[in-house]
């Protein structure tokens, strides 16, 4: 094997590795992702409501496991979302279900206690977690 061919093969291998692990890397697998923190919906909401900057540095982009009672939920082709009670009249913790994995179930009951694991994206009216999977 000539030296040139060998270099070419090595380059191709590197390109292949780059393609699979960097360029085409998959989204985080939420089913197996380890939670960075576990917290109640009340406490998570309070954290953002009282000091948003600190809460952002603590929770943004992190896998957060949140437990609370269901205030409302919406399950249709457009939205799959469960809102958890926080003790605040307006704001809740909104858990958008992960659309990359089939959810454990799509029927819920208001008032039921649930735990979701998801990526925290911040607070608007609600504290929003995306790509949630139920535990």
């Amino acid at each position: 094997m000539s030296k040139g061919l060998r270099i070419l093969l090595i380059l191709l291998a590197v390109a292949g590795v780059f393609y699979f692990f960097v360029w085409d890397k998959p989204h985080k697998d939420m089913g197996s992702a380890r939670s960075d923190s576990a917290i109640s919906a009340n406490a998570l909401y309070q954290a953002f409501d009282s000091d948003e900057t600190t809460a952002q540095s603590q929770y943004l982009d992190k896998v957060v496991e949140v437990t609370g009672k269901i205030r409302s939920y919406e399950m249709n082709t457009e939205v799959q979302k469960v809102i958890l009670e926080t003790g605040d009249i307006l704001g809740g913790v909104a858990c958008e279900l992960d659309d990359l994995v089939a959810p454990k179930r799509t029927s819920f009951q208001v008032g039921e206690q649930v735990t979701f694991k998801g990526l925290c994206t911040g607070k608007l009216l609600d504290v929003v977690l995306v790509r949630c999977v139920e535990l």
Binding site: D24, L60, V79, K81, I83, T121, G122, K123, L124, V130
Partner: protein, 183 residues
Amino acid sequence: MRFGILLLLTLSLLSTDLVAQKWFTRDGKISFFSEAPLEKIEAENSSGTSVLDAESGRIEFAVLIKGFQFESALMQEHFNENYMDSDKFPKSTFKGYIEDPETILWDQDGEYEVSVKGDLTIHGVTKEVSVPASFSMKEGSLSGNCTFVVAVADYDIKIPKLVRENIAKEVEISVQSDYKIFQ
């Protein structure tokens, strides 16, 4: 006693007066799309919040940048870290008003074309924009649609020379929201 009942009646009438109604959503869909010679980029966020005051025509929107979902994980990472600095600027907002709110008959079914004007904040930069929007009222539910184009340079989003061919200079943003009556 009679006064009390009268007051109650007036209040209940007021609260069903659609013209003076406030509308809101926490499931607003915001997506964007751009097509450059080498790459098509699109992402969607389905947790935009919006409040609309029918009487004054005031409208506000907010969206969390980290909530945009891309098909490619790498693109999503670059979007957050290199272009939008979403740790520093986690939200984008729009605060404005419907320029011609009297066009919309809030208590009647119909499709209405209006113009919405206000301050759009992306990446910490605020610009005044005026965009066409359409609202549709059907059986007491209100939905709004709006598509407009922004130039990334206007919002101080820098695209490195190396990837200039991959990323379009203009991005089309679509907003779709189904409002509920705010109680």
